[in-house]
């Protein structure tokens, strides 16, 4: 019958970064979590902050899991499905560790800030020293805990650095209200005030954006 859906394996094993994201979201707000997996974040936001939190997830097994837990999640693709939401439908639109895996990151960001007043974006930092070091010394594509799939089968088709993301926000005219760099466990690192250091030592960046 129909061909199996494309499966994109995203790094979903590090749930601590969701705590950082949750910390950026105001109570009782309307939230859309793109790539919500089994709905961990939206459940957390509903239970602890009374948010009207909904999710989109591309992997059907995860969607089923989430809905079977009573969470409002629909199967959908960040690249194609955001266009179907009206302007300003949400207070926050969240994209956790998935920006590097979408087909058109710039358009997805634009959609997020069209349908939401604010966007919360997290992504693994390709500027991390381990990545730089491996590429420099071995001349091979880096393999790190955050970048753990070989180049020929990675879903992470648009890697970027924290520095790159700053540039993109400036170019697109997005205001960075808050940002932080964290290690892969999601713990907030002390050197976040300095972009240069964050771009070397931060394993992931978490950004709170709004339109100008």
């Amino acid at each position: 019958m129909s061909a199996p859906d494309p499966v994109r394996f995203l790094a979903k094993n590090m749930r601590v970064d969701l705590a950082l994201i949750a910390g950026m979201i105001a109570p009782r707000s309307r939230v859309l979590d793109i790539g919500c997996g089994d709905g961990f974040l939206i459940d957390h936001l509903f239970q602890t902050k009374g948010c009207d939190a909904r999710g989109i997830e591309i992997d059907m097994a995860q969607v089923t899991q989430a809905v079977a837990h009573g969470l409002p999640v629909m199967q959908g693709d960040a690249d194609t499905d955001l266009a179907h939401y009206p302007d300003d439908a949400f207070d926050y639109v969240v994209l956790s560790r998935a920006l590097q895996a979408v087909e058109r990151p710039r358009e997805v960001l634009a959609q997020m800030l069209r349908i939401g007043t604010r966007a919360v974006v997290s992504f693994p930092n390709f500027g991390h020293w381990q990545v730089r070091w491996q590429l420099l010394v071995t001349g091979r594509m880096p393999m790190t805990p955050a970048w753990d799939r070989p180049w020929y089968e990675t879903p992470n088709i648009h890697p970027c650095t924290i520095h790159d993301f700053f540039s993109l926000c400036e170019q697109e005219g997005y205001v960075i209200e808050r940002w932080l760099a964290a290690d892969d466990g999601g713990r907030r690192a002390p050197w976040t005030r300095f972009l240069m250091l964050a771009n070397i030592f931060g394993e992931q960046g978490v950004f709170l954006l709004r339109r100008r």
């Binding site: 009207d52 089923t64 809905v67 969470l71 409002p72 629909m74 199967q75 499905d81 939401y85 009206p86």
Partner: protein
């Protein structure tokens, strides 16, 4: 008003309303009867009612032995104590649709004279054309009669899913959650085409007698059986047919002159379809089949809202669960996804799941653990949001 009266052969629980119902076609039925079954107990504040809407050839016997066929209820694996639609927790109502033939007003009912009195002969083909919206209006009347202002949920598969969508669009403040399963917001050209084949088979039956078959004490059984056989193929999938029957042969019955027999054999799939056809005619009225297939064909929710489906749901607070099945080619996933997207445009709270299965459209009636899990979880989540007491 409430009564359990004997119809010609069978007793169906029903209620008759004497204040008239005006149909979309302009006709006013002065009196209409809704046959229904209920399961579970309505709670004190009447907030735990779930309306189950049946499909084209279904009826109100959703969770109990069917009084004609003796078979289990059509959703007995879903509706009952401890099941996804848990009758320990919810009060379940399942009405027979307007136009049906299991006790609700339909072509089998005695027609009204112009002065409102009952004539001695049934409506037959003169029964006014009804729409899914008319069916839902009749159901609303029943729900009000049962003392329920807001339904906790409306759920149905196939045509039942059309009704669930219609409910949500028509009575948004009276539906907390809507669950259209294997459904669509309109009946596609392909689906209308299959229905037309079925209708033509009925018309072609020599026992049809222009729809007045009762006068001759005949039933257009051959035509209706062919209609059912044709429709039944659309409810399955190639994979399911291959898995169940393949190209296996079986002995053809000796007295069966209609079989094209080589060496006294026929394909199992032929025998299966004939069985489906012949059992169907024992429980279904041909004029009802025409009426209801037509109602499905007319269904186009967006057309009622100026062509934009999102308009039909604008500002709705109803929570939605859409479910489709991978091998369903009659109401394919693209249709459910289109509804989900329209609901997104309307800002609605929508969950949407596609269940992998090879069982085709019929999967919504069958044992699909992922589907049942999804259903149970969604209802549990909604119950929490609706403030229903936990079990």
């Amino acid at each position: 008003m409430d009564q359990t009266a004997a119809s010609t052969e069978l007793i169906h629980t029903h209620v008759t309303f004497d204040d008239g119902i005006s149909l979309e076609c302009g006709t006013i039925l002065r009196r209409h009867t809704v046959a229904y079954r209920t399961y579970g107990t309505l709670n004190e504040d009447h907030s735990n009612a779930i309306l189950v809407c049946h499909a084209l050839t279904g009826d109100q016997y959703v969770a109990e032995t069917h009084p004609i066929t003796g078979k289990p209820g059509w959703w007995e694996s879903i509706v009952g104590p401890g099941l996804p639609i848990d009758t320990n927790r919810f009060f379940v109502i399942c009405p027979n649709v307007l136009g049906g033939c299991m006790g609700s007003t339909g072509p089998l009912s005695l027609r009204e004279n112009t002065d409102g009195s009952e004539s001695a002969e049934p409506w037959g083909t003169d029964f006014p054309p009804v729409t899914v919206r008319d069916m839902v209006r009749a159901q609303k009347r029943l729900v009000e009669h049962l003392g329920i202002d807001r339904l906790f949920a409306v759920i149905g598969g196939s045509m039942g899913g059309m009704q669930a969508l219609q409910w949500a669009a028509q009575y948004p403040d009276h539906v907390f959650a809507a669950l259209p399963i294997a459904a669509a917001s309109y009946h596609s050209a392909q689906n209308i085409a299959f229905h037309e084949v079925g209708r033509q088979a009925i018309f072609a039956d020599p026992d049809w007698h222009n729809g007045r078959y009762w006068e001759k004490h005949r039933l257009p059984a051959r035509g209706l059986a062919v209609a059912r056989m044709c429709a039944h193929i659309t409810y399955l999938s190639e994979e399911a047919l291959t898995r169940k029957f393949g190209r296996r042969l079986q002995h053809a019955p000796k007295d069966n002159s209609e079989a094209i027999n080589l060496f006294g054999e026929m394909f199992e799939v032929e025998s299966y379809l004939r069985h489906q056809g012949s059992t169907f005619v024992q429980r279904f009225d041909a004029n009802s089949y025409l009426t209801i297939t037509r109602a499905m064909d007319y269904f186009d929710l967006a057309a009622d809202s100026g062509g934009d489906l999102a308009e039909a749901f604008k500002g709705t607070a109803t929570r939605f669960l859409l479910v489709s099945f991978t091998s369903d080619w009659l109401f394919p996933t693209t249709q459910s996804r289109a509804v989900a997207r329209a609901l997104n445009r309307a800002g609605a709270n929508v969950s949407f799941v596609e269940i992998p299965t090879d069982k085709g459209h019929d999967a919504f009636l069958l044992d699909e653990p992922d589907f049942h899990r999804t259903l149970a979880g969604f209802l549990r989540g909604c119950a929490m949001h609706a403030g229903l007491p936990a079990l």
